[in-house]
């Protein structure tokens, strides 16, 4: 595996050099916390930023995305015919993404890019995107990534994994995309692969030691869906829930969307927007019936999807990378770690 060293004084010039080839995204800090955003030409990513409030999911899956358009002008031959919009497929790089957010991209890929269905918008964005991760040396109190098959130095889904060594970064180039990005920046000082790997292993161990969460998922697969569905604890779990969409929107793995058509003058546009299973509208039928008519139904759905349905369907673990954003942002402190343990420990008395 290819390791390179990037002196920090070469970092910003290198990033600037890469802008000819890449649209650059990275953590940006403002008064309300940190977010992954496209960086203006004069902006550098804030690499030592705290965990971003929102994940990097929007780089591939924007909250609102124009997908089709049509003219309503009946004098035109193709009026009312929906056509794909032109997408910007310029290569883009996300700098300083946390490893769990890259693992999340891998999980979201199961939905948008699989043998049965390929979402053209997501796939095009995915192909254009290079993910340059930064190992997390100080995981916060909500981080439980090690419990769910990820971790502060996980490589899954990343193209490059970097370690911050004070005056330099050591970068592990994991894919061809990663190598191309490094070349575009002019980062080419190779580092000793053996020594670097040892260093990564030490940092990884140190970081993982700091994560104290004990979330267990080992027994979820053997439970039946109906036992968990009928478990007695859902009323209690859901009591405090206000049914806002915060948990689903901050989640890097929540992939549900809604389709909306809007018109303005003679132009019709079809958008897709993030949707949230916490909203009553999510399952509201045209008949007026709502199969998930109460908040208990909806809270149960969120956890059942993440921790049971997904697990059963894809056999790739739970639909959660342990970033802890939903725990940190939930206004009423519903904690997926507690719910997961409760589901894992539940034994039906029937």
């Amino acid at each position: 595996m290819n390791f390179i060293t990037i002196d920090k004084k070469d970092w910003a010039p290198g990033i600037d050099k890469s802008r000819k080839t890449f649209r650059v995204y990275g953590p940006v800090e403002d008064e309300n916390g940190c977010q992954i955003k496209p960086l203006a030409p004069d902006m550098q990513p804030k690499m030592d930023a705290a965990v971003t409030v929102m994940s990097a999911k929007s780089v591939l899956f924007p909250q609102t995305e124009k997908i089709l358009t049509a003219t309503l002008d009946e004098s035109k031959d193709d009026h009312h015919v929906m056509k794909p919009v032109k997408t910007d497929d310029m290569p883009r790089v996300v700098l300083g993404i946390r490893p769990y957010d890259a693992k999340a991209v891998h999980l979201v890929k199961l939905n948008f890019d699989n043998p049965d269905y390929k979402d053209p918008y997501w796939c095009a964005a995915y192909d254009a995107t290079t993910l340059v991760g930064l190992g997390v040396t100080r995981p916060g109190p909500c981080d439980f990534s090690t419990s769910v098959g990820c971790g502060p130095f996980s490589e899954e889904g990343l193209d490059v994994l970097m370690a911050d060594m004070d005056d330099k970064y050591i970068a592990k180039l994991l894919t061809k995309k990663g190598e191309k990005w490094a070349a575009a920046c002019g980062f080419d000082t190779s580092a000793d692969p053996k020594e670097s790997q040892v260093l990564f292993d030490v940092l990884k161990k140190e970081a993982e030691k700091q994560i104290q969460a004990d979330v267990t998922t080992d027994k979820l697969a053997q439970k039946t869906i109906l036992d968990l569905y009928d478990a007695p604890f859902w009323d209690e779990v859901a009591f405090s829930c206000i049914n806002c969409g915060t948990c689903t929107y901050v989640c890097p793995t929540c992939w549900c969307f809604d389709i909306q058509d809007e018109t303005r003058h003679n132009t019709a546009v079809r958008f897709r927007n993030w949707d949230s299973c916490m909203s009553p509208l999510f399952t509201y039928h045209a008949s007026g019936h709502n199969p998930r008519g109460t908040k208990v139904h909806r809270v149960r759905q969120r956890f059942m999807h993440k921790l049971k349905y997904f697990l059963d369907k894809y056999e790739q673990g739970i639909m959660c990378v342990g970033c802890g954003r939903c725990v940190a942002s939930c206004p009423v402190n519903i904690d997926i770690r507690e719910v997961c343990n409760r589901m894992n420990d539940y034994e039906t008395t029937k």
Partner: protein, 320 residues
């Protein structure tokens, strides 16, 4: 502060043991620092789970409106700060609940802390939060900070003039002194003093990070419409995407819908994951309600709110 917690627990246990109420709605400790979670107790044996401290920032009246009269539930006790109690009064005045359905355990309140202000003292994440009297001790992996609670109060608590519940069944402590303010609406006046373009830019900037999760709406006890206008699809009043006109339309209309009803409890801001001070909208309407009608919401049970009553003395000409 004296958090009155022993008294709250004793009252709760007594109410549940005697069967006076079916459940007690209060705050329990959260799973992370500076978090509490609303909970409903049905057994007097569980009252030790109740807490009351400076991070009980949501409004528990919100957990009553959804169990409104039509559900024919039994009596519910609610642990209520000044603002929570005012929202319970508003529920009663707006016929969402009857006075008899509610048992108000009033808590004199010395304010809730601004978690973002505290987080801003640290570069890393907060791992511990302790409260002793009016001193807060906050820790992270890198340092410990000791601050006076008064220095990190939420803005709505700094300008609160109803710390004691105006209506209650029992008080869990002696009333605290109410604040008197020379300029209660200084923040509103500052925005009002901007010229039109600057003001518009201010509000555009305010909502630019909104993700439309509706946490502000859903944390608000006033927002109990069976279907909110933003969720209507036939007709669809507002677009559902991130178009800034749609986003601001939501915020403007939500605020207007709270006119003359808002108690400035701050739950909306507390709930917002993006740190948007949506009170900038509602505060202006609170100021108008006070200046035009001499009205503050939720103080009395026997007066109609200004916007649901006709008066020949209405200050607006168009209505006469």
């Amino acid at each position: 502060m004296d958090t009155c917690i022993e008294k709250i627990r004793a009252i709760g246990a007594d109410l549940l043991a005697k069967g006076t109420v079916e459940k007690v709605i209060g705050f329990a400790d959260g799973s992370i620092p500076m978090a509490t979670r609303p909970m409903a107790l049905t057994s007097d044996k569980d009252v030790d789970k109740l807490v009351f401290n400076s991070v009980c920032g949501l409004n528990l009246a919100n957990y009553v409106s959804k169990n409104s009269l039509s559900n024919k539930e039994g009596k519910i006790a609610v642990v209520a700060k000044g603002c929570d109690a005012r929202n319970l009064v508003t529920h009663i005045v707006e016929n969402q609940i009857s006075r008899e359905q509610i048992y108000i355990i009033g808590v004199p309140c010395t304010g809730m802390v601004d978690k973002r202000k505290i987080a801003a003292l640290f570069d890393d994440e907060i791992t511990g939060f302790e409260e002793h009297g009016d001193t807060l001790t906050i820790t992270s992996a890198s340092k410990t900070e000791t601050v006076k609670k008064a220095d990190v109060l939420r803005h709505n608590c700094r300008v609160c003039t109803h710390r004691n519940p105006p209506v209650y069944d029992v008080m869990a402590g002696d009333p605290v002194e109410e604040q008197t303010l020379d300029h209660p609406y200084e923040d509103v006046d500052q925005i009002a003093a901007m010229d039109l373009d600057a003001r518009w830019a201010y509000f555009e900037n305010l909502t630019k990070n909104c993700i439309r999760c509706y946490a502000c709406r859903n944390a608000c006890p006033l927002c109990y419409c069976p279907t909110c206008f933003v969720d209507e699809s036939s007709p669809q009043w507002v677009g559902k995407g991130q178009n800034e006109i749609d986003v601001t339309t939501f915020h403007f209309l939500r605020a207007f819908h709270c006119a003359g009803r808002c108690t400035d409890c701050g739950a909306c801001v507390e709930a917002c994951p993006m740190g948007i001070n949506v009170r900038d909208f509602t505060r202006k309407l609170n100021k108008d309600a006070l200046e035009l009608f001499g009205w503050e919401a939720g103080l009395v049970l026997d007066k109609r709110p200004p916007l649901d009553a006709y008066s020949p003395n209405d200050p607006n000409d168009f209505i006469k």
